[in-house]
Symmetry: C2
Subunit: 341 residues, 2 copies
């Protein structure tokens, strides 16, 4: 039988997590007080702005424990926060983690979640400096606040796209949605472990390195990550910038596994690319003359491809898709409405 | 019928909260990006360290909705985070708020919670710069990350108490525990609205102004707030500082309402003062020669009294209580174990 939280208690768990973090042995000179006091304390670096984001994952809502290991859950929860920092162009530095846990939760699962956090933070020498553990009566939840930094004045917003800008997107949006659909179709999670779409859902990549390169170049007009799906997040750019968008269907990136899955589900792959999906890719807008340089900066990092998929228009809030035959249709921007019934 | 989250949805709620914050009209020059982008962005001030804390309140666990109004819930959730910043000596500046909400939650209740947050932040010109809303399948929860600042190098820790230091405490620890017990005893919450102990539980005060004065003085050796109860938090000082403590029974502050409630419950008031209670008072340790000056600094603020209740000893982890007759007994440090069955 696994040891549970009910057995070792809150302070016992805190000690175990402290020991885990201590073994990782990452010490950051700017942190003068880490875990174990009323607050964490760090010295901000001169010449940098501070970025802060927080995102929560609730069991049954944002993840299904039968489909994701505790290690992958930790990775994924941290990845989506790193993605938010990266989508402004910043670098993650400090994390605070709030966990709500049923008392029957196994200690080794909590430790695995933390190992997942640390695996994602390590490439940045970023550290967990605080947090909070509480008993949950219902669903477990993981709530992370991530603090990053960026050279002062260089963060890229979502509210500054301009008509005439082109729209770029990294990777293959929609793969995570297809992966989730495959998981939900009922085949055993074990059989699906190596399915690339299931991996896209359970082990998404953030694009923080790419976002950082874009921000440093000063060439982009706006940037956002695709946590609400391609059209959902392009919609956020449009709303905040007071613009519209025209997407060109044949330019949308569709990976072979996504095309295959769409055929299997008898669905148009374009709907998967455009719809709700937890991919954490980047949407970038820029003046047309900067598109090639931004693409080169991203591909030079060797991790992900980038495609120009359309342009920003002057009709506020309207997102259209132009088909191969030249006809256009308006796209609805459902996004991910957490309170829809 | 009240409008609910299911009706207006996540983005509808975000718009409502944005409008609420906009109406409050607090603009902070250091915040270049507030709510509504991937991250919030602020410029740290030269010469200041950054403090960060996070604390969560789960319905049914940390609060009972039948006993606390949404406005007071918002105040209390923010107060306990302000208390953590204040217990290091800092000033709150920026809050991020994660809410987990059932879809039948009334919008007006969510707005009232935010008004409670803002009421507590306003005296500091502190602002909400981000957050997160998600559907909860079970209990509602409020998770706040609060960022503060303090003159570089002046934060007061819990790990630096020294044998021979005296122990001071503000206010009347135990009042909140007595208030909760009164609420749980079954009388109508409405009848109890003006009960001072119920108010101590539902509308606790933080001591951030006092903590700030103590930190600026440089006279304290350690400081902590009493969120885990007087003995629980004194125990944290002892554990982190490698020391023990001797409390003197007749010096423990017992307010008349607390004494009365203890009599009513046929309980020793000293147990209420020492035990688990959500009071958010300060425990301060300092060399004996500094005690009077620290007391004066605190009472000069005119909000709360302060008492010297004992001294730090050299026996690690041992907390003793000396009775009026001169006998001593060891105190157990239960604290608040969130995972106890």
């Amino acid at each position: 039988m696994s040891e549970t939280l009910a057995v070792i208690g809150e302070f016992g768990l805190i000690d175990r997590i402290d020991a885990l973090l201590e073994r990782a042995g990452i010490h950051v000179p700017e942190v003068s007080v880490g875990i174990g006091d009323d607050c964490a304390v760090f010295q901000p670096r001169a010449g940098y702005d501070i970025l802060v984001t927080c995102d929560v994952m609730v069991e049954g809502r944002h993840y299904l424990p039968q489909f994701i290991s505790p290690l992958d859950l930790g990775r994924r929860a941290m990845t989506l926060n790193i993605s938010d920092i990266g989508a402004m162009g910043g670098v993650p530095r400090y994390a605070l983690v709030s966990l709500g846990l049923r008392s029957d939760t196994a200690i080794e699962d909590v430790e695995a979640i933390y190992l997942g956090f640390m695996e994602e933070l390590k490439p940045f020498d970023a550290v967990i400096i605080g947090g909070n553990l509480t008993k949950s009566e219902g669903a477990n939840f993981v709530d992370i606040t991530l603090i990053g930094e960026i050279a002062a004045g260089t963060s890229v917003r979502r509210s500054t796209a301009t008509p005439g800008d082109v729209i770029l997107v990294t990777g293959y949006p929609g793969e995570a949605a297809a992966g989730l659909r495959i998981l939900l179709s009922g085949r055993s999670a074990h059989d699906l472990e190596n399915n690339p779409l299931v991996q896209a859902y359970n082990r998404p990549s953030h694009r923080a390195a790419e976002g950082g390169a874009v921000a440093r170049s000063g060439l982009a007009s706006a940037m956002i990550d695709t946590s609400d799906g391609l059209v959902g997040d392009l919609g956020h750019i449009c709303d905040k910038s007071g613009v519209g968008a025209l997407l060109v269907q044949e330019k949308l990136p569709i990976s072979p596994p996504l095309r295959e899955a769409a055929a299997h589900f008898n669905q148009d792959p374009v709907d998967l690319v455009l719809g709700d999906s937890d991919d954490y890719e980047l949407i970038i807008t820029c003046p047309p003359e900067h598109a090639d340089r931004i693409s080169s900066l991203i591909t030079a990092l060797g991790r992900v491809q980038v495609n120009t998929i359309g342009e920003i228009t002057s009709t506020p809030g309207k997102i259209q898709l132009r088909s191969v035959d030249g006809s256009s249709r308006s796209l609805s921007r459902s996004g991910w409405n957490h309170f829809a019934q």
